[in-house]
Symmetry: C2
Subunit: 307 residues, 2 copies
């Protein structure tokens, strides 16, 4: 099944202990689309400026990603500058220029309208909701958000959550959204807001899926996927979006959404996140092969399974 993703396509200037890179191709929709493209057809809705040229287009085309939904607008693309010098788990933002993104009005190409999977990457919840309503045929809808929307745009976000099947956010966002410091209690609070499944991303410690109501408070309805302990993390930017792309891309490739499919999807999410951080920006995802992905999936199994 094809996935349509709406979100940012951007340029990132990134500094980490491994070095500095200027104006890498980035943005949540970019990382998501590249990661998901190893599993299924992907279509992108976004806006870019005049600085988005043939080199950037080629990155999507090489992975057979449909970008007719990427609108070109006068001006510059969204730009983010940040560093991870003190802490690889948390970016320090130095500069954010919304540019063409400030007046983004998502337009959905007719060719996208049969997408049965829809991913609402981290953008203004008002836009997320508009896209969701414009694509009523979508059978499985997942999305992401961030502290800024949770804190200052809660009402709009709550409307989005009502229409989501799966929400993917991190530990801090989960606690903030529910107003509860205990992760299990917070997860239950978030599930009460609409999503049928919550995937909490723990960075280097993996991710946990919460779904349904736990009957015994002891994690009967939870599944935890690991992250691979890595020798070197070059650039954490986009790891969470790559996780989401692997997770949702794998689900979209499955004929039946069985519990086993969700478990494997959690592992594929972790696999794609672990590749993403090995190089700056999207470099590693651009160079990846399906064989490498499946080899790492086996390593994840070996890393966690009793036999």
């Amino acid at each position: 099944m094809a996935i349509t993703v709406v979100g940012s396509v951007a340029f990132d200037s990134i500094e980490t202990p491994a070095g500095r890179q200027e104006r890498c191709l980035g943005g949540a929709a970019t990382h998501f689309a590249l990661a998901a493209s190893f599993f299924t057809d992907v279509r992108v809705i976004a806006v870019v400026g005049e600085d988005f040229g043939p080199d950037q287009e080629a990155v999507f085309h090489k992975r057979n990603i449909d970008i007719q939904g990427i609108e070109r607008a006068p001006g510059k693309s969204f730009f983010w500058e940040g560093s991870y010098l003190d802490n690889l788990n948390e970016a320090k933002t130095h500069n954010t220029e919304l540019n063409v993104f400030a007046s983004f009005e998502p337009k959905i190409p007719d060719a996208y309208r049969d997408s049965e999977f829809l991913f609402l990457a981290n953008i203004d919840p008002v836009l997320q909701r508009r896209v969701r309503e414009a694509m009523p045929q979508a059978k499985l809808v997942a999305g992401d958000t961030m502290n800024y929307w949770i804190k200052d745009h809660r009402d709009a976000l709550k409307q989005v959550l009502k229409g989501l099947d799966i929400l993917l956010i991190n530990d801090t966002e989960t606690r903030m959204l529910a107003g509860n410091n205990n992760l299990v209690q917070a997860a239950r609070g978030v599930l009460g807001m609409g999503p049928r499944m919550l995937v909490v991303k723990h960075g280097e410690y993996g991710a946990t899926a919460f779904y349904g109501a736990s009957t015994n408070g002891l994690g009967a309805k939870t599944f935890r996927a690991p992250a691979l302990p890595l020798e070197e993390v070059v650039d954490p930017t986009g790891a969470g979006d790559s996780f989401a792309g692997g997770f949702f891309g794998y689900l979209a490739s499955q004929k039946d959404l069985t519990p086993g499919a969700f478990r494997r999807a959690m592992f594929y999410g972790g696999v794609m996140g672990s590749f993403a951080v090995e190089r700056f920006g999207t470099e590693r995802l651009q160079q990846l092969s399906r064989a490498e992905i499946d080899e790492r999936f086996s390593q994840f199994r070996e890393l966690t399974h009793l036999d």
Copy 2:
């Protein structure tokens, strides 16, 4: 096989968001011994003061733990007072009174001398080394330490590490010991100091075992066990020692130390840690049954396994 453990037997006054308890029975050797006692015979070497009476003895006797190696000295037992009000993952120490522990000279009862498993809980590395040398028959030796010894008693600690088969410490201690912020690189550094296996405890995120030299830098020689996402953490005190007790106790109960036995031991460690935090002090371990342990082991498998 029997385990001998040397470490603290103490009283703890603990404050957490769940409440406050005065002078619970505590200490690393206590938590370890109770957790390990569900799997094998356990013998304790420690020192206590005149405040250690029949009520405390009964806790050990009910679990068939041999305490003839707990010396009674004039004065008071080791006492610790701490809280976890801001952060359940890190204790804030308000008061530490070494009392009889200040002049502790471990004495090994003859009846302990056939112990093939030896656990050196977190105490002065000079004492850890002395006990290890006094028990040359021990075939598998594991131990713990903490930031204080890593920082200010590094030379003595390094002597201990040379004689250890397995070191169990947390993320921060691993990074501090190796002087490296990347966990995988730090783990390799620690393995170069002597231990054949390093178990890094991640608190609510589980634990990772590193062993042997990784040939591809991608975790070929790692194993990650989860922690159970818990509705309520009443008191984290002793969770790490309980993990160690479950881990080492299970190993000591096995005829052959196969790779599978180590994997299951990691899971049993997580299981015992997850029970320990459900009540103050050692309350939960005192009330536990082997059936509950095995039921939770199954939950851990369900939580992490693809099928």
